[in-house]
Amino acid sequence: MTLKEIAEVLEAKVLCGHDRLNEEHESAFASDLMSDVLTLGDYNPVILTGLCNMQTIRTCEMGNLDIIVLVRRKKASEEMIEEAEDEGMVVMESDFSMFKACGLLYQGGMQPIF
């Protein structure tokens, strides 16, 4: 799916990385645990998470993960958006639950990485 399609399906608000929305991505990973997010090796899946604080951005920066979907109505702080912009990340917010967001992306053709 393109990032634009992902944003549409999740009725998500794109906070930064608008210039990257035509990029196509095929895999996603969902977790609220940042240590899990750091076990993904060389993959760069779309990250879905309900964890919404500076560590979300920092952890993704450390793991070379640069597409983040915040689910469960979580709202990113200005500081998070600034840091994500500096790192060239795409960050979006969806009001959907993690389960619904994952289901919709799976239905749209996104693949798990394991």
């Binding site: 645990l33 940042m34 240590s35 076990t39 604080n53 500076m54 560590q55 920092r58 952890t59 450390m62």
Partner: protein, 137 residues
Amino acid sequence: MHLEYQVFEADFVNAGAASSAIKKTLKQLNVNPQIVKRVVVALYEAEVNAIAHAYGGMIYADIDADKIIVKVVDKGPGIPDIEWAMQEGNSTASPEVRNMGFGAGMGLPNIRKNVDRLDVQSTVGVGTSVEMEVRFV
């Protein structure tokens, strides 16, 4: 090249700042991105550990042409049973640490997976030293 960073107890706002700085340095040195990622993931876990579990400490990084050695030395309280702490799922993290997305008992196991050499020394009441080496080739 020798780099040093100080980390402070419960300073979650800046957790990752040292790892981020070392990441940028390694990128500037044109180290293979996959190796940079291994170094940074391990270092970040260790940095978060020093902030979440210890009374702060120091990070020392020595980079040469073929490897990086990073030592994270904290000021205690120390790990009573290192073998227990190295097992996935074992954690003594506070609710605050868990709210930050950590504390799942994955830190030390994650570090071990990403480095070529790991040496954890700890004395209860004194502190813990985590030394890790990643080779570039």
